[in-house]
């Protein structure tokens, strides 16, 4: 018999729910802050923006979530969309409850490639999680010498925008040109309206010395990519983070296989160049 202390990639690290808050007006999105029970686990859990974890409730199961917190924060933050069996159970969790996590898994955004470049972040809906981590991380690490940021972020309505206090903070940062957009006009909304692909088309995103990162629902990605290509972005300048129905997180269970890749291990971050010629199974 073995216990949790022996390295077994299927067994979880215990965490306590430190904070829970509704992220969206319709209560479908909840943000959880997780605190490790064992300090040594936190030290071991070294991640970078783009990576994900498996969140486990014994008896209910596991689901993968992109890590939304800045790596330098003590807690680990995830945002959970209530949509299935496990996520329903996660939404029932309260402060003080215990759960388990595994990870961090997968690769990171191409941080080394971003050095001395402009970073254009394009996102829609609740796929914004790991991008918030990326933006926080790059802003904190000035040694990357990012020359400037674009942030184009869209949601169905103002109530569905994630991390509103952060969005306000970033709006006031002179290094970030941010366009926050909602699908159609709503009372009290004075910002941009329109779908993300259209906003991208009308923006003056510059491909020169830039890396674009795009995350969102498949249809948004599909419609936005041609707009980036029209603006002159090459396929090795555009990165996306894929989501699949993953189970193991360590490239064993086979479910997230796309061509020669396992999304959980070789991804979730891929350049468009890598995805060219592979089945569009995402």
């Amino acid at each position: 018999m073995r216990n949790n202390t022996v390295s077994n990639p299927y067994m979880t690290l215990p965490v306590r729910i430190a904070k829970v808050s509704f992220e969206s007006e319709d209560r479908s999105l909840k943000t959880l802050e997780l605190q490790f029970i064992n300090e040594s686990d936190r030290k071991q859990f070294q991640f970078l923006p783009g990576q994900f974890l498996e969140f486990s409730i014994p008896g209910k199961g596991e689901s993968p979530f992109g890590i939304a917190s800045n790596p330098s924060e003590e807690i680990i933050r995830i945002t959970v969309n209530r949509t299935g069996f496990v996520t329903e159970a996660i939404h029932q969790l309260e402060v003080g409850d215990f759960a388990g996590i595994r990870g961090p898994f997968g690769n990171t955004y191409p941080l080394a490639l971003m050095k001395q470049k402009r970073v254009s972040i394009i996102s829609g809906g609740f796929a914004f999680t790991t991008l918030a981590s990326l933006l926080d991380y790059l802003l904190e690490h000035e040694e990357f010498g990012i020359t400037g940021y674009d942030l184009i972020y869209g949601a169905r309505n103002p109530g569905m925008l994630l991390y509103k206090s952060k969005l306000d903070q970033w709006k006031g940062n002179p290094k970030i040109r941010s366009i926050i957009t909602i699908d159609k006009e709503a009372s009290g909304w004075t910002g941009t309206t329109g779908f993300v692909p259209t906003v991208v088309e009308q923006s003056d995103l510059q491909p020169n010395q830039a890396i674009a990162v795009i995350c969102g629902p498949p249809i948004m990605i599909k419609l936005t990519l041609p707009k980036l290509v029209e603006k002159g972005f090459q396929t090795d300048q555009v990165y996306t983070s894929l989501e699949r129905r993953m189970k193991c997180g360590i490239g064993k269970c086979g479910r997230c296989n796309i061509g020669p890749y396992y999304v959980c291990k070789d991804g979730p971050v891929f350049s468009l160049q890598q995805l060219e010629g592979l089945p569009a199974e995402y």
């Binding site: 014994p58 209910k60 199961g61 299935g84 129905r245 269970c253 089945p279 199974e281 995402y282």
Partner: protein, 316 residues
């Protein structure tokens, strides 16, 4: 180090008898159920948990077992599954079973109707992933051993080994059947398989009669896809993994309802290309042993050999 032993029928029986006083010795033969079911069981408990204390306990048994008599295509399972399951981080359950498994396969003396190992670069006398392989010869057996522990056991019983100088030499010569048969065009899929992705006509044809029952994947010695589910008994429970199949719609369906592989067309494409294109791209080997179970047991009589030949025409 590879070694070669000449054994009489009596020697062989003596060896098995001696082993069975020390470890479990299991006689095998080719059957509908692949050897995979032992190395990588259809249901496997990952760990037990308590919901109240949040303790997890995993049970990994280390029992040494010697399996003998299985065909080389079944022995190959240990090699093919290992490419994936032992890649970093290694799967501790598979690794423990593998490390405690000694396989003495037996070279086949005939081809069954759906056997095709010799059409995909294999042979009914190949060592593949086995610890040793037994060749039947006129006056007994030739045993080719590629396993230090096993060699030692034989030497301790005073069997005299001869060193194998050329590991690539064909030891099966004369004791396995050879037939004139055209190889399957797997190299096309290996090199140009990606070009078939957009060939809807091909996938429509191969998937037209498929019921998506998944029997081909469950019985395949090279398939390893699994699902993870929790089973609760009040405050305690266990996390289990069970075989899964790329042919099932729920395999890729996401909680939102979106399915990246919506029809059997995409799922069949995944099954074929994962074996003959993606697996070679990832690990250098095709995910097929030529055992023929997927042909024998398919309720729709789909023959993967025909699919491979069909696909050849679509490779560009």
């Amino acid at each position: 180090m590879m070694r070669f032993f000449k054994l009489t029928q009596q020697d062989w029986e003596k060896f098995l008898q001696h082993q069975s006083t020390q470890i479990a010795v299991v006689s095998m033969e080719k059957s509908k159920h692949p050897f995979k079911h032992i190395l990588f069981p259809p249901h496997e408990t990952l760990f037990y948990f308590r919901k109240d204390t949040h303790k997890e306990l995993s049970e990994i048994k280390e029992n040494k077992v010697l399996y003998y008599g299985l065909p080389p295509c079944d022995a190959k399972t240990i090699q093919l599954l290992g490419l994936n399951l032992l890649a970093d981080p290694a799967d501790p359950y598979f690794q423990t079973i593998r490390d405690n498994t000694v396989i003495i396969s037996k070279a086949c003396d005939h081809f069954e109707p759906n056997c095709f190992c010799d059409q995909i670069g294999g042979s009914p006398g190949a060592l593949n992933g086995a610890s040793a392989i037994l060749y039947t010869v006129e006056d007994g057996f030739h045993l080719l051993v590629n396993h230090d522990w096993l060699s030692e056991q034989l030497v301790q019983m005073n069997f005299i080994p001869s060193e194998v100088e050329n590991e690539k030499a064909d030891f099966s010569k004369g004791s396995v059947p050879v037939r004139e048969i055209k190889p399957l065009p797997i190299d096309h899929l290996r090199e140009k398989g990606l070009s078939t992705i957009s060939k809807t006509a091909l996938w429509e044809k191969v998937s037209a009669t498929c019921l998506a029952c998944g029997i081909c994947t469950f019985l395949c010695p090279a398939c390893y896809c699994f699902d993870i589910q929790d089973i609760s008994f009040g405050r305690v429970g266990k996390r289990e993994r069970t075989y899964d199949s790329c042919l099932f719609s729920i395999y890729t369906t996401e909680a939102s309802g979106h399915n990246p592989r919506p029809t059997i067309k995409e799922r069949w494409r995944q099954r074929l290309l994962h074996k003959f294109t993606y697996y070679p791209m990832q690990y250098g080997e095709i995910g097929c042993t030529g055992c023929g179970r997927c042909i024998s047991e398919c309720p729709s009589h789909i023959d993967i050999r025909e699919v491979i030949r069909d696909a050849e025409q679509y490779c560009e």
